[in-house]
Structure formats: C-alpha cells, structure tokens
C-alpha cells in the first residue's frame, strides 16, 4: 500500500493550509473485469480552474476510470472524494447531482429529438408532467451568450453538424452546472479551427472555476491545452507531468512504454505514371443527396496521396465508389492502369489490382464472428489452390494464414481465435495482411490507423511507405491531419464532396490545410 492509500488525517488538514482541497480526488481506484484489470490502483485528482489530461492508448483504462467517476461502473476498490468529502456515485444521476458532467466520445444525443429536448432530458420539468421547453430554451440562451455556444434550441439534432452537436453536449453539461467536466476525445471529429474555438470555450470554463478532465491521444492538443498530464498504460498510472517539462516524443514513449518513431522515414521514390485516375466522380450518399461532387484525382505509382478532411465530407462515399461498393453517377470515370472500373463490382476492382482497407473495419473489413483464419481467407476463398476436390484444403489454408500472421505481426493466440476478440490494431493488421497479399497495384486505405494503438499505427505506416517504395499507388483517406502530413507526398483536401485543394507535402502547412478543411479557402499554401 502506498502512502497515498491511507493518508493520516493530519496530512489532509496540513494540505488545506497550503493548497486548496482538490475539487475531485479519485484514490487508488481498481476496477476488474473477468480476465482483465482495467484500472489498477489508479489515483487522479483535479483542482478547480485547471485542465488535467488523461493520456493513454486505447485500452489503457481512461474510459473505465471516467465511467467509474460517472457512476456507470462501480469500482472494486478505492474511493472518490469531491471537494474533500467522500462520495458514493452509483449512477449517472448521482454524478449529475454531484455536478459531474461528461461529454462522451460518441455523442450521447437523441438525433430525433430537438436540441432543447436533448438538454431537458432527465431533468425535472417546471411544469410537472408536461415539458417546459420554452424555459429550457431561455436558459440555454443565457449559457450561449456567456460562452459563445449558440445552437437553435428548436432544431432536431440530426440536422446539426458534428461541431454543433458537440456544442449541444457541452451545453447539456453547463445546463446542469457541472463543476467537473470530463471531455472524452472531444477533438476527434473537429477541424483544426473548430478545435481552436473549442479550446477558447474550455479556457473560459476553467477561468470560471470549473475543472476539466481532458481525454485525448492527440499529443499536440494535449501539450496545448493541459495544465497537468497523467499518463495511463495497461490500467496503471505510468507518470504525471506538466507540458513545460515534457515533449510529444516523451509523452508518446510514456504511453507506449518503449521508443516510438512519430515521424516515419520516407526515402525518396521515383513516381511513375498515374495508376488510379478519377475524373468528374459524383456519388449520391445515403441521404439521397450528392455526397461526392465532381472529384478529379490522380495517384501515381510510388506515391502516397493523402485525402484530408473532416468526417462526413464525402470521403467514405468516395472510397466506397472506388472500391466498387457504391455506384457513381453518370459521367464519372474511375480508371485503374487504364482499365475502366467505374461500374465494376468489388470482385472486378480486386482483379484489376485494387486492394481496399475500409474505414469501418468491423463492418466492411472483417467479420467479427469469423475466426482469424477465415477472415484471412475471405478474399481468396474462391481461389482454386485452396481447394481439394471442391472442399477447402485446410492444411494449405493454415500454412497460408500462418505465413500472413507471421509476416504482419498479427498478435493472435491461434488461427482459430474469433476475430472480434483481437484488439483494433491487430484486426487492422489482419486486414492489411489480407489486402496486401494479393500484390495490389493500387491500395485504398481509409482511416488506416483510427482507434489503433501507437505501436500498430507505426507498423501500418511503415507498411504503407514500403508499398510506395515498390511502385504501388497508395490513396490514404484520413481525418487525422498528423497522419496525412506524416505519410503523404501530395495532400488533397475534401470539403462538402469536392476536392478544394491539392498541394505538395513540401508546400503544405497545417494552418492552410485546416482552413481548406473548413471550406474557407481554395488555396492551402
């Protein structure tokens, strides 16, 4: 047991003299799930008026700790103190009553309800059993004026942009007068400018004496916003620091526990002729409107073209169309090494030389219930060399799959393990292994490292750069601007279905790209 586990009473009083009592203290929290310890002896505190960042990879235990704080999980050990007093938080209701608010990574909004209804949900109405949305809207107006968070209360949430939805989430917490506000990866879906705007709001909140817990793995933002940083790895605190005394490199190594290479080496490559050519590609999206609008792009062999942009600007539809999963409108052309694949189905695009690493890896990339072996075989399951007398030749299939698993460092207990029990990074490596095995001439990778741990991301990046060296045309679509900047030779920015700019990596600046992502300028140089 550490000293902090059982502090003598006198210490508490002593501290009160020197320093104000922390707004929030989580002491020695342990939370176990069958087979895993999600949090082990984690201590974390937060003072009024500060931003304390929780940094860690997926599965490091950040979300578990915050779910304990918000009453969604009960800790097995440890205690929570608010304003110096021990508290029991058994449900979100308790947390809200204790003035703890949370902006979840996946927005907790009801899309079919209006903004005011979403804010009012769970609160006692001043009109008894009837809703009091007018009163709610009026109070929302006051909050909007104070923090510059204006959203129309009467509009349904599904009609809002992602940035506006996030504002609704923050308004919800402020409406409940949250003193401790947890923000779980709040910047994941925002443009760089929206991130700046958000940070202005967050700083106003700390100036008003609220305490913020900022959860992120974007090191640049963490360095920018935090007053203090606590790093978690494998459920344990691996260190605490302040931005002035650390660097991005050092934080990354604290997260991963070994040396990492944040900027992959990219040897120069002679680019060949354009292998993937898109001309005037237009695509109708799920809502029946034009999601991709007249896109022209060329990707040469030996080149990585990065498509940057905020989620929902047509990138997914564009990728699906190139892969043959979504029809293009008349007048569109997609050519691969001179072969027209505009109206082709996935089987044809594959045989033309395209490999596809989809954005939704568990929906489009792999079948969770299938075993690792089966997912590795998926694309090749009609390949005659895996058949014997019309039936699967399991011996050969196993050899083939074992070779792929070894070559791509997929960490799996056996070839027969259900794929869904692997980590996101290993599933992504599995998909990469399968897709690269066919020796593609063009690789289309959408969000290749989203939700993937740093180690796997590093590996995937090195694989993409390796492909580029072998003369493959690589099209990377990513919402992570750092990833695009690290990988791409040229960068295209997509906004509202159009390519608003294409620049060489050497000429690209973060600010210029950010403006283009927000649709502000057509020139990102």
């Amino acid at each position: 047991m550490t000293d902090r586990a059982n502090p003598p009473e006198a210490d508490d009083r002593l501290e009160e003299g020197d320093q104000p009592v922390p707004l929030l203290e989580m002491r020695n929290i342990t939370k176990r799930f069958p087979g895993v310890v999600a949090n082990e002896d984690v201590s974390f505190d937060l003072h009024a008026g500060e931003v304390h960042t929780l940094l860690g990879e997926n599965g490091a235990g950040k979300s578990t700790l915050m779910k304990v704080l918000f009453g969604l999980y009960r800790p097995d050990e440890g205690e929570i103190r608010l304003r110096g007093e021990p508290v029991e938080i058994a449900s979100p209701t308790d947390a809200i009553e204790q003035r703890i608010g949370m902006v979840h990574q996946h927005f907790m909004l009801v899309p079919t309800l209006t903004v005011a209804e979403n804010v009012a949900l769970g609160l006692t109405s001043s009109r008894g059993p009837l809703t009091d949305l007018d009163a709610v809207s009026a109070r929302m107006g006051e909050i909007a004026d104070r923090y510059g968070l204006s959203v129309d209360p009467s509009v349904e949430v599904w009609k809002l942009s992602v940035g506006e939805r996030q504002r609704v989430e923050i308004i919800k917490a402020l409406y409940r007068d949250a003193e401790v506000l947890v923000l779980d990866e709040p910047t994941a879906v925002l443009t760089p400018q929206e991130v700046d705007d958000l940070f202005v709001v967050l700083r106003q909140m700390t100036e008003a004496g609220r305490g913020l817990v900022f959860i992120s793995h974007k090191l640049r933002e963490v360095m920018d916003l935090s007053d203090r940083i606590t790093v978690l790895r494998n459920g344990r605190v691996t260190g605490s620091t302040v931005p002035a005394e650390t660097s991005r490199q050092q934080l990354a190594e604290m997260m991963v526990g070994r040396e990492v290479n944040l900027a992959p080496d990219k040897p120069p490559v002679d680019t060949g002729a354009a292998r993937l050519v898109l001309r005037n590609v237009s695509v109708i999206g799920d809502r029946g409107t034009l999601a991709v609008n007249g896109v022209d792009l060329d990707v040469a062999g030996g080149e990585i073209l990065g498509v940057a942009g905020v989620s929902g600007n047509g990138q997914r539809e564009l990728a699906e169309t190139v892969a043959g999963l979504r029809p293009a409108e008349a007048g569109s052309t997609v050519e691969l090494d001179g072969t027209d694949i505009t109206a082709a189905n996935p089987a044809t695009t594959r045989s033309a030389g395209l490999s596809y690493v989809p954005e939704e890896r568990m929906r489009d990339g792999a079948i969770g219930e299938f075993e690792v072996r089966e997912n590795l075989l998926l694309v090749n399951h009609r390949n005659r060399s895996f058949l014997r007398g019309g039936l699967f030749d399991n011996e050969r299939i196993r050899q083939h799959c074992q070779r792929l698993v070894d070559a791509f460092a997929v960490k799996t207990p056996t070839l027969d393990t259900p794929t869904s029990s692997l980590s996101g990074g290993n599933i992504q490596k599995l998909i990469m292994a399968r897709e690269l095995d066919s020796d593609p001439t063009v690789l289309l990778a959408a969000q290749p490292t989203r939700g993937v741990d740093i180690g796997a991301a590093e590996y995937i990046h090195s694989q993409l750069i390796d492909l580029r060296g072998r003369g493959v045309a690589v099209l990377v679509i990513s919402e992570d601007l750092d990833e695009v900047l690290a990988l791409a030779d040229r960068i295209a920015v997509m906004y509202e279905g159009r390519i608003v700019t294409v620049v060489d990596r050497a000429d690209a600046t973060r600010e210029g790209l950010g403006l283009a992502m927000a649709g502000a300028a057509s020139d990102a140089e």
């Binding site: 979100p92 907790m108 899309p111 079919t112 769970g122 059993p129 009837l130």
Partner: protein, 309 residues
C-alpha cells in the same frame, strides 16, 4: 354493381369501416407507445384474445359492460407485466417472445372458453350512441356520429396519445429510450422504467381493443381476432409511428374490410371466392409495407435490449 355506388351504400360502408377501425386503432395506438420506447410486441393479437375472453366472460356473468371493459384492460396489463419481465428483465429476443405471447393468448383463451363457457352464448353488447345534433347531419351523421362508446373513445385517444408522446416529459423519455437509450441513461433517465410503463400502456390498450371487439359482437369464439392484432402491429409501421398516421391506416383497413363485407353481401364477390376476398387486409398490409419500406425510419433502438456495458 351499379347499386353499390349509391349514397346510402357508401354511407353504410363508411359507417361500418369506422366501426371496424376501432379495434385496429386502440391496439395500434398502444403499440405505437411501446415501439416508440424501443419494444416491439408481436403478441398483441394474443393479448387481445385473452382480454376479449376476460371481457366477454365478465359481461356474461355480470352484464356490466363497464366492468367487462375494465377486466379486458386488466388482463392486458397483466400480460404487459409478463412481457415486460421477459423482454426487460431477461432481455429475451423480442420477436420470438412476442410470438410466444401470441400463441399463449390464442391457446389459453380457447381453453378457458371451452372449459368455462363451452358453447357460444351471446353476451351483453355495447349500445350504439348518437351524438346529439351531429348525428342529425344527413349521411355524415350516420357514418361518423352513431357508434358505440369504444369507437368514440378510440378516436379520442388519437390526440391524447399524440399529446402524451410529444408534449409530456414521459413522452419525451419514451422517444429518447427508443432512439438512443445510452443517451437517456447517461442523463439519469431509467430506460427500464420508461420501457416498462410504455409496455403496460401498450398492453392495456391492446386489452381494451380486445374488449371492444367482443363487446361489439356480443360473443366469443376460438381465435376471435383472426390475426387482427398482427395488422395493428403493421399499422404502427404504416403510420410511421405517429398517432395520426396510425389512425389513417386504421381507417383505411376498416373501410377496405367493410367494402369486402358489402361486396360479399351483394354477391358481387361470389360465395366461392369469399375466402379469397377475406385476404384483402393481408394483401393490403404486404403492399403497404413494401411501398413504405425505407421511407420512414423506425425508432433506432426498436427490438434492442438495453444494458450498460
């Protein structure tokens, strides 16, 4: 064929259409609340059958129609508690559980009828009421304002249910847990209790629908509803989970049903083909669902059990 299109015949069709719509409407309005909360109940027909028997037997024994309707509702409530336990406590698959409820209601109501009553015996029936003044309007009065109390009640429930769904805190909670239960939960709304109450309301109304059916006919028999409860479930889709849409659907079905009856009575449809004509509502359901498929969005969490992890 020509005398079908006389005004008096059309008025008769409209009047009996409104009358037939009553049962659909009561059951479908209740199911709308349930589905809005994210719980599908395919067992509506079974609930209606058991409630109908309860109401019928009460009417037979006491001749008290109020008490009979009340018993119908109580049987519905009880079935609702059972269904809520199955789907909310044990989180069973809703489609299959609903079919179980249907089969239970179908079989048990028949068993009770055979054991307790035996031969079909007419019971007291709901009297027809005329709305003063309005019923005197030529044609329209007869079609719309001369019905039994249950019919008036069913149509009066349309704005009531709409108000409940869209103007009350409970209704807002129902819509929230049916669309994104995680969000509602994170704000301290109890998904369990909101769904529980929504299921009870839905089943009580299905019970009332069963009572309305048996008390209009003044009799009971095996499988009295003949799948009417399933059409009520389809009507919720048809009406896009909105009370007014559900009402329009119920009226359409009532009128088609009345028209088929009229065509049979006038032997425009020959006797041999009458079974075929009886398929009209089923065919209409399939056509309507195919036409409407993908145009309206169901509550996102419909049929999804909720748990925190």
């Amino acid at each position: 064929m020509r005398d079908l299109f006389t005004l008096s015949v059309l008025v008769t069709v409209l009047a009996s259409g409104v009358r037939l719509a009553t049962t659909y409407l009561l059951a479908a309005l209740g199911e709308t609340i349930g589905q809005r909360s994210g719980v599908l109940n395919l067992g509506v027909d079974g609930v209606m059958l058991l409630s109908a028997f309860g109401a019928y037997w009460t009417a037979l024994e006491t001749e008290n129609l109020w008490l009979a309707a009340l018993v119908g509702m109580l049987v519905g409530l009880l079935m609702g508690v059972v269904y809520a336990v199955i789907t909310l406590v044990f989180r069973a698959e809703q489609g299959i559980s609903g079919i179980g409820i249907y089969l239970f209601g179908l079989g048990f109501s028949d068993l009770l009828f055979e054991e307790i009553v035996g031969t079909p015996t007419p019971s007291a029936r709901l009297p027809t009421l005329s709305v003063p003044l309005l019923a005197d309007i030529p044609y329209v009065g007869e079609a719309l304002f001369e019905h039994n109390l249950m019919t008036f009640l069913a149509f009066a429930m349309v704005p009531v249910i709409a108000f409940l769904l869209f103007r009350t805190t409970f209704g807002m909670n129902v819509r929230a847990v049916g669309e994104n239960p995680e969000a509602a939960d994170s704000l301290g709304v109890s998904v369990f209790w909101v769904r529980f109450r929504a299921i009870l309301i839905g089943n009580a109304m299905a019970g009332l629908a069963g009572a309305a059916l048996t008390l209009r006919l003044g009799n009971f028999q095996n499988n009295l509803t003949q799948g009417l409860g399933f059409i009520a479930v389809a009507l919720v889709y048809f009406g896009a989970w909105r009370p007014r849409g559900v009402m329009l659907g119920a009226l359409l079905y009532g009128i088609v049903g009345a028209l088929v009856l009229q065509l049979k009575a006038r032997q425009i449809i020959p006797l041999e083909a009458s079974d075929l004509a009886a398929m009209a509502p089923a065919v209409l359901t399939i056509v309507a669902l195919v036409v409407l498929a993908g145009r309206v969005e169901a509550p996102s969490a419909l049929t999804q059990p909720f748990s925190r992890d």
